[in-house]
Subunit: 390 residues, 2 copies
C-alpha cells in the first residue's frame, strides 16, 4: 500500500502523456491530516532542478499538504521558465485539491513538487496540468501502488515499503535506478506516517535514516540534480512515538527502499554490499566503502565474476582513511583472498555465481564499521545510458 | 626510436615468458652516460607496488644507470616476498650489466624497476631472471622500439615520442590503456635525454610536465598501484639547456605520450577533450574537468553519440569550484547547447560522428583555463575489464 498504508493519506497515479509510451507518469500524494508536518532531504548537487529549489522553499514552512511527482522530465537546467513551470504545477495542484475537497483549502506553498527524467528540457505543461486534475479526481485511500508506478523511469519495478510501529505506521515509495550516488541521486522518495510528530522530530528521523541508508548507496558515483526524500506526517493514529522509535521505523523504511533501488540499478547483474570494518570512525569506513563502490575496475571485474581483490586494494589506497597498506584484509563472499595486503586464500574458492556479493574490508585501524551498497558495471548499464535521451 | 633517440642510451625488449602468449614482456633501458642523473614521479596511491617502493628509494640517490621493466605482472600487493623479488630483479640486472660491460660497474641501487600487469600475484622469477640476461645481451642503440613494445599490456599499439632541442633530444616510451587517473594510473613511462641536467633540473621539468599532461588524463577515475614516470639524462650531447627549454621539451614529450594513451584507452571509441574556461584558478578548472571526465553517465552518453549536456551540468554541480549554476555555458563540438544553465542551441546540431569530441565549459567565474582528457565508456571497456584476470 506504499504511501497510503498509514492513515490520513490518499494517492493517485495516472498517465498524463509526459512519457511517449503512454505509461503512468504523474502521481499525487495528499495528507488529509489532522497534522501536515513534514521534513525533506535534497540533493547536494549545486546544480539543482527547479522542483528541488521549490520544494526546499516549501519545506522551510514546515507544512506539506500534498506532493505532486512526475516522471518523463526532470525540469532541471531549465532556467527561470522552468522554475515558473514548477510554481504553476504547485498552484494548479493546490487549486484542484481545494476545489474537490472542502476539508483542504491549501496554497501552492504547501505543495511539494518532484520531477524525474531527462535534464534540460521544459515540461509539456499542456499535458501536465490536465494530468494533475485527472490525478486529483482519482485520489483514493488505496492509490499508493498506482503512485509508486507512476514515478518510475528506467526502474523495472515499483519500490514500496510499509513498516509497522506500535499503533502507527510508516509507508513509502521510491524510484531510482541509476545516478545513485554520494548522498543519493536521481532518487525520489516519499515517506508517510500517521504518527504524531513535529517537524523537528521528523527532520531528525529522516536525516539519521538517510545517512545510514540512501547516503550509503552508490550505484555509479553520479549525483542527480533532482534527488528528493520527503517524510510527511498526518498524526491520524493519534500516537506520538518517542524519537528513537520514530527514527528506527523511518530508517527501516529507507533501508528497505534503498535495497530495492540497488537491486534494480540500471543494467546490474550483481547486488554488492561492501562491509568495511576495523575503521577509526564511521566516516573513514564510508569513505573506503564508497571508493570501492565507485571503482569501475572493481565493478567490471565483479560483472565478470572475477574476485579481483587487487583492484579492491587499489581503490582503498586512493582514500585518506587511516590504515596501513600491509595490514589490509579483504574477503569476497567469505573467502579471505587477501591478508596483510597480499594474496591469502585461493581466489578460485570464491563463488560469484549468485546475484549477491559481499566484500569485507578490514582496515585494522579501529573498531568502527559501515556498509556501502552498489552494483556491478555491466553491458546493460552502458546500453541503457548510451541510449537514454536519444 | 623512443628512448634510444637521445645519445647515450641503449635498450632492448624481449619475451621472457611472463605473458602466456609469448609476446615481448621485458625491457631494459641503459644509460651509458657520461651522466646518470634522473628524476621520477610515482603513483599517489597509498597501496604501492613493490617496484614503486623500490624505485622511489633508488631515485632518492639521484643516480639511475638502468631501468628494467616487465609486463605480465604488477608485483603489487605481494608483501615482503614481492619486494624481495624486485630487489633480486635490480641486483640481477646490475650484475648482468656489469659482466657485459666494463664501462658499467653498477649496483642494484642504481637500477629502477617498473612492473605492470595483474595485481596480487608473485612474478615468475625463474622466467624473469633469465629474461634479464637475454635482454642485456640484446641491448642496442636502436632497441627503443622493441622496449616500447615489451611494456604493453592491453595497449593495442606501442607509444613513443621524440622531441628535438637545440643539439639535444628527449625520447620516451609509455604504456597504459586503462586505469589512467588522477595523477595517472597504470602507466609506465621512461623518458630519456642527452641534455646535461642535474637531478633538480630534471625533477622540476618532470613535475611541471606531468602536472600539465599525465595528471590531466583521466580515463576511468581509477588510480593504479604501479604508475611510474622516469626521466634519465646521459649528458652525451654536452649541451646544458636552460630550465625553461628543458621543461618545455619534457612537457611536449609527455603531452604527445598522454595523447597516445587517451587515444588507445581500453575499449574507447571517443577521444574527449574537456576545456574548462572562465575558472577562478587552474585548480578549479582541473577539478571541474576531472569531475566531468569521470562521470559514467557523461561517458556513456558520448559513447551513444548523445550530446547530453544536462549530465555535464550535473557533474559540474558536484564540485566545489567557484561558479553560479545559472551562469554555466556548455558547448559540445562547438555548439553551445547550454547557456546560462539552460538549453540554448539545438542539440541536434552537434556532430558526434567523429572520434574526437571537445566539451567546452565556461564557468564565468574568472579567467583561468585547463584541459582534461578522457574517453568514453563503451561496451569494449566493460568487456576488457570484466575478462582481464580470468
Amino acid at each position: 500500500m506504499t504511501v497510503t498504508a498509514p492513515k490520513g493519506f490518499r494517492a493517485a497515479g495516472i498517465a498524463a502523456g509526459l512519457k511517449s509510451g503512454g505509461a503512468p507518469d504523474l502521481a499525487v500524494v495528499v495528507n488529509d491530516g489532522p497534522d501536515a508536518t513534514a521534513a525533506g532531504v535534497f540533493t547536494a548537487n549545486r546544480v539543482k532542478a527547479a522542483p528541488v529549489l521549490w520544494s526546499q522553499q516549501v519545506l522551510r514552512g514546515g507544512v506539506v499538504r500534498a506532493v505532486v511527482l512526475n516522471s518523463g522530465g526532470a525540469n532541471a537546467c531549465t532556467g527561470p521558465a522552468g522554475f515558473q513551470d514548477t510554481h504553476a504545477t504547485a498552484e494548479h495542484t493546490a487549486a484542484a485539491l481545494s476545489n474537490r475537497n472542502a476539508r483542504l483549502l491549501l496554497g501552492a506553498g504547501e505543495v511539494a513538487v518532484c520531477s524525474t527524467g531527462l535534464i534540460g528540457e521544459r515540461l509539456p505543461m499542456d499535458k501536465l496540468l490536465p494530468g494533475i486534475r485527472l490525478a486529483v479526481r482519482g485520489l483514493s485511500r488505496d492509490g499508493g501502488p498506482a503512485a509508486a508506478e507512476a514515478i518510475m523511469t528506467t526502474d523495472t519495478r515499483p519500490k514500496s515499503t510499509v513498516v509497522g510501529g506500535a499503533g502507527w505506521t510508516v509507508g513509502g515509495m521510491a524510484k531510482g535506478a541509476g545516478m545513485l550516488a554520494p548522498a543519493m541521486a536521481t532518487m525520489l522518495c516519499v515517506l508517510t506516517t500517521d504518527a504524531v510528530a513535529g517537524p523537528d522530530a521528523l527532520d531528525e528521523a529522516l536525516r539519521a535514516a538517510c545517512r545510514l541508508t540512501f547516503d550509503r548507496v552508490d550505484s555509479d558515483g553520479c549525483m542527480s540534480t533532482n534527488d528528493t526524500v520527503l517524510l510527511l506526517a498526518s498524526g491520524a493514529s493519534g500516537i506520538e512515538p518517542d524519537q528513537a522509535e520514530l527514527t528506527a521505523a523511518v530508517t527501516a523504511a529507507c533501508h528497505d527502499l534503498a535495497q530495492q533501488l540497488v537491486a534494480d540499478a540500471e543494467g546490474a547483474t550483481k547486488r554488492i554490499a561492501i562491509d568495511v570494518v576495523g575503521a577509526v570512525d564511521a566516516d573513514d569506513a564510508v569513505l573506503v566503502g564508497r571508493s570501492v563502490a565507485r571503482n569501475n575496475l572493481v565493478k567490471t571485474a565483479l560483472f565478470g565474476n572475477d574476485p579481483n581483490w587487487g583492484r579492491i586494494l587499489a581503490a582503498v589506497g586512493t582514500t585518506t582513511a587511516a590504515f596501513e597498506p600491509d595490514r589490509l584484509d579483504v574477503a569476497v563472499n567469505g573467502v579471505w583472498v587477501c591478508r596483510s595486503g597480499a594474496a591469502a586464500e585461493d581466489r578460485s574458492k570464491v563463488d560469484l555465481s549468485g546475484r549477491d556479493v559481499t566484500i569485507r574490508i578490514d582496515l585494522h585501524a579501529g573498531s568502527e564499521t559501515a556498509t556501502v551498497w552498489t552494483n556491478d558495471l555491466s553491458h546493460g548499464y552502458v546500453h541503457e545510458n548510451s541510449a537514454y535521451s536519444s
